[in-house]
Symmetry: D2
Subunit: 464 residues, 4 copies
């Protein structure tokens, strides 16, 4: 089942995409289009909250943005400001209470919050808050923000800053009160968040690819440890801590982000293409063509082809109609499950020595089947090149890889892995090469095992 | 609205994909997987009928194959034989009665039928049948088959042959009785249909890309004017007419078919790539990069790049979550509608002279907006190359282009069209080049205006 | 399962209610309200077809009229004439093709048809029609009408009359062409149908209880063997046969019809009350109170109480939220299944000798459980009085009782049945008393076994 | 719209029905059947939480119990204890967060809570709690319980008692922890709650009519101010206050409760029948028949008929298929809206002088239309007798009558009201007679305007 899910879905799942828009006509409608551009960051649930300066109205549901929202629903979300969210969720967290935006409605004032990330001291804070009488509705750690803010006194900025100061881990948060918007990043800058300008208003987004559709122009990334306040009288910046560093998640470049996004000044497609070139420089493979596993590895494959001067080809076709629900296949069908998602073009691969680029190897089962697929289609040799290092350690900052056991590179070395997947050769990038391609200030904990934060009670998982 | 539909959906729509499987375990389940591989041929409705040698059970509904069918439904379709269908339908034909398979249940025996194509003398035959008391449930001309067959006497093969002899136009039909299967193509071979072998059974499909997922091996195309009978005692071939010719729809190669399919011996990806090379040989454009409009033009773009020795690049990203339903945008949003579907990678196209390959131009509005999109992202020049000739005449054989007015090339010449779309230069393939790339025996009526059949009452549309 | 279905649903099921309205504003909307008043005649599916003098638009679905239709759907059914239908259906007939109105759309003209009844020579005619090339979509015998009419030539009235002349059995039909309406009853008048007048228009309905809600005034019953034509130039009457008699279904009075309906001049509530009085005259039971099984037996219970001068009481409460779907109970829960539908008021029945009136006994299982329910609640004695004769023979005219085996009175005599249900005494009405209460011209075949028509191939069931 | 809602729905709406079951097999399944018996207390939403002594699983949704729950869902609610709820909700409270059971999941332990009633100092407590950092999800005042309990320390019984002591108003609460159940009533006993015994377990219910279906035997009512703790070691009783009195809501007897329920020792049907007798003793009307408005007034009508020796008749039929959704009628249709729900039997009422019994008059519009309906059907005179006093003051304890303006008796005296509804005479019961019929210890605030509790900020409504 898990394997089939993986084949059908994505190999890695991130928790979210956040979008906010301030002082525009049709804020909810523009949020719809913005979230549509962020849909690749989460497909299981979504929501939008809009404010008309007096009341905040919120709607959320399970499914794609185009499935959850209709014209009628958008019309029932009036106002000039809005925040929205697309969400991936693991099975155990698949309750409606976890879908964002999450809200506080209280006599002191209402606000809505969206977040991308994972708090590593969530459990510790939650116990403390429950001891003081707090009641949590869902299991999402974003709810902790609400309680920490609600228990503070003073201005909203002050409350948000005090709340952030208590939290360790990764977060990129947008908070909307009835008339203001706040954009916040954790002190390591682990998750992306940037701001843009449009007409009289502002836009906040997890990825810059959402700006074009709403006609907004990129301004800058929110800084690690920064709280940006957007109000009718303009923008203000606050720092809730001085102990900041830049540790952008390297998987954003490698796998998650859309190729047209620019993160911390680096275009994702170009970063991937450079990764492909670095792979090509490693050795001179005797091969006839270079292919990529669609879609996330095509940029790297083009880079490899350019550098190696081997012809770039389309050897694998991705079925565009792979949805979230499929009939349960019998065991036999399961074995050819990957073929529902990918097809080899026999006319291309037959008799060829192939360099096949993929962005990463997580569990290894899909890669094993892709190699088999190509060989069944007549490939003479399949040289696998991975545009990232060996994925050895779980992520605790919002990427869904919870245990060492799931990570095949924590169990097999490169040679063993090559045998397991049936490749004729197998090479990875080094951590240094990843930094060369994507930028120096990266979190590479999943490759190096060195985490930029204390891990609190999550540390137990590591020791196991 | 129509324009928005076009932007969100496909520029051209074909009517269907047909799939049949004979003498296998889990026939309905395998049909599900086969139809999933044919999903690109029709996304609005689908159905499967299965036979256990005694009874035929049928289920159909609106939506994708993965939306309409569940494990429970598949289990309720028992038997070793099955036929299935995926369907595109125009708004006016969007009634459940038109969804296929369509069936006859009668004391003489039941049978189910799926069809891809369009009968050009449908109206004439329908009036004649109604005068004799026939009652039609839907508006699909495939229903005419049922009535013609039911009114014949004799063996099923004989009835099918007599029915086919009365019909002009395009059809690729699979008929399943409780214990036999029949595969039929019109005498011009306008629509594709082929057969494959698996274990003790057979498989019939509109495109060969469906065979891999069910572990079937391609045998051969059904011939124009041929009726193939598949029964427990093997395969037999019949010809219902000697006046046959090969006039395979050229748009199958250019736009509809999946790159991994082989039609009449020609692999679609390779045909497209060769089309791109032929485009490159036309002139020597001073350009920096070659890009394609995803997905159907990427093969041609790679061919162009190879031939011209210009770098192949990813300049446009296609949003994978463009679904069938979207909120109705305001006028202003509509103008940037294409941006929901396509995004330019600014980091790639900025300051560049671009050769952009597309497979065809139908209405021209989308192309105009794509050129604008690239220029807004900073492209210095956009040279548009179309991997097919000017689309000037409507198709009456199953491709949804009903009037001359919709076809921009029937109104504007190449120079005018270049101005309209805002390109720096514009070139098309010639009809001869199309035949060079895809094969000599093609229907090119949409480019030449010369139709391979009499058009009967449809001719009125042409005169208008 | 069947027993649970029976407990949850109705003990007997009729096939339909028909409604038509001619020359009014909002014809579809008024049909909605008319069908709502006929909902007790069928709850599984419904439909409305409306004509604006040019086109007929039709919508149908599974469920109650209030579930299937919305304002939006009603608005999409424009026109001044409409016909509608509510349908009960057995499991095997539960396909959407059987839901009415059923339609012919042909170049000669379109028409919609609704029917209540059952054709006894359906199978014979169907084989003949199929031999001539007719294709049937569903299994409902109403479809035969369409084919017979479509195969005739001449005026519509003439075609309808010729079609009717070929059919044996029970039918009450409304046919709507784009600008006329036809109301037809079989020659024995087995199923009710009447006409009413409102403003400039007319109304046709299975039961008169539908007239009040649309402000129509009852005019008269359609006669057995009559075809009434309603057109813009007024009403005309035709007889398609002279061999007519009045054989109205006695179960209409006993169980099906609403108490406020008047059928063939007799009010249903009064007929039931008189049945109760006739029961009371049979013997002088020593009892403390009279109760009825809600809802259909309350009229008879009041009649019994009046005649016997025993106090009328509410001893059983019916749960108003018994729907069509329920969770499958475990065996133990099943045994108290009837308690979901009925509750005894212990405070009333405890220690009392009770006369309990029910309208009929079909399978006997429900009655057995009701008697038990009353005894568990403390009743000292339960004297069961049934306001109809022993139900011994299946109905072939549209009431869902297909086999002798299901009818407990075909297996047990009164004394045995009394023992089986655990009653202290049990009495039925005689056939003569039924005629005294409800009228002399009744079909009493289910009590007498004497059928008013030839039964054709259905006769086989009887011999078994 | 409101009027149409009233016509289609109920004239008065209560907030809820509560059900709990402890130490039985299939606790969720039995709760399903128990809630089905309480469905008349709320039809808009429902939920069940079940505990297997370790975990509490909860499922809730909008709609009837038979619509929300399926076998599959019930199976996913394992355990031997369960609490459930059926809910009526006003439009503004119609959010899923308000649907019960509501839950706390915290490291100290989880619990689920269901409640019927209304807290009159909710607003005051909520502000206080929010000032201390509490976050409320919904607008239901039942959520206050959760927060008060969660903020206490000590044993669960102690926490519940302390929470209750802070609350004024009406509540009947069942709380389930993973292994215990608590049944609680407010100190005035305004809402009903009782306990029953079955095998090794216990049952708690708003009304005794739910016990029969689960085979439980009534034990006793929970006392005002009492907390009953049900655990594996048996039952314990606690009092959280000594200042208790019995003030059972009189509308429970008059309108809400099912006739077979026994509340505070009085059977509802008998109480209503006695009310009818008291009405008959008021004067000697010259009339031919006595009828009741179905369903809630039939008991009183029988009592009136018995006392007056006038014949009891069925003059009004209630349509059993009046659902929650209907198409919006045009103005003209609206005027006959009540006719969708009620029909007069013309054959009975024509030419008759009628005594018509109804349980209460709230807004008066329905009564006006019923009188008109009877007169249109030919009634010579309609003498209206109401089995309760004039409804003059809003209820603040859970019955949905929020303003004086809606209550016609707060604006018109009996004579004026008689004119308004078009009756030939009109009489009400006195408050003393209500107590004679239903018991001495009643809350009659809606008739007398004397509320048994302080009304806090709700008092403002009264002054208006």
């Amino acid at each position: 089942m898990d394997e089939f899910r993986e084949l059908m879905g994505n190999k890695l799942n991130e928790e979210c995409g956040c979008f906010g828009i301030y002082n525009v006509k049709d804020a909810a409608s523009l949020s719809y289009f913005g979230l549509h551009a962020l849909q690749h960051r989460g497909q299981e649930a979504c929501g939008i909250a809009a404010s008309d300066n007096k009341n905040i109205t919120c709607y959320k549901g399970k499914g794609l943005i185009s499935e959850v929202f209709t014209n009628k629903i958008i019309e029932e979300l009036p106002g000039k400001h809005a925040v929205g969210h697309v969400r991936y969720s693991t099975a155990q967290q698949n309750q409606i209470e976890n879908v964002q935006p999450i809200m506080v409605r209280a006599h002191q004032g209402s606000f809505a919050l969206v977040n991308n990330g994972q708090i590593v001291n969530a459990e510790e804070i939650k116990v403390e808050l429950e001891n003081q009488g707090s009641i949590f509705q869902g299991t999402s750690d974003s709810e902790i923000f609400l309680h920490l803010i609600q228990r503070e006194e003073g201005t909203m900025v002050y409350k948000i800053m005090n709340a952030c100061a208590k939290l360790e881990g990764a977060f990129a948060v947008i908070i909307m009160t009835k008339d203001c918007m706040y954009a916040v990043r954790d002190k390591n800058g682990l998750r992306p968040l940037s701001i843009a300008k449009l007409e009289d208003g502002y836009c906040v987004s997890s990825e810059s690819c959402a700006y074009d559709i709403v006609n907004a122009k990129f301004v800058r990334d929110v800084e690690p440890g920064e709280v940006i306040r957007i109000a009718s009288d303009g923008i203000q910046s606050f720092k809730y801590t001085e102990k900041t560093q830049k540790k952008m998640c390297s998987m954003e470049y490698i796998y998650f982000a859309r190729p047209d996004s620019v993160i911390e000044g680096v275009n994702v497609h170009n970063a991937r293409k450079l990764s492909g070139k670095l792979l090509a420089r490693k050795d001179k493979v005797k091969a006839d063509i270079v292919i990529g596993v669609p879609d996330s590895s095509l940029s790297a494959a083009i880079g490899y082809a350019e550098e190696s001067r081997l012809p770039y080809e389309i050897g694998l076709i991705k079925n565009r109609y792979v949805g979230r629900t499929f009939i349960q296949p019998t065991q036999k069908q399961r074995e050819r499950g990957v073929r529902m998602k990918l097809s080899a073009i026999s006319a291309i691969v037959k008799g060829k020595r192939i360099v096949m680029i993929d962005d990463s190897i997580v569990r290894g089962t899909t890669m094993k089947r892709i190699v088999q697929l190509l060989k069944d289609a007549g490939a003479k040799a399949v040289h696998v090149r991975i545009a990232s290092p060996e994925f050895k350690s779980p992520c605790f900052y919002g990427v869904d890889t919870s245990t060492y056991d799931e990570l095949i590179s924590s169990r097999l070395n490169v040679k063993e892995l090559k045998e397991y997947i049936g490749a004729d050769s197998l090479k990875f990038l080094t951590i240094d090469e990843v930094k060369e391609a994507n930028g120096p200030d990266l979190c590479v904990a999943c490759f190096s095992g060195k985490y930029p934060t204390n891990l609190f009670s999550l540390g137990n998982i590591i020791k196991k």
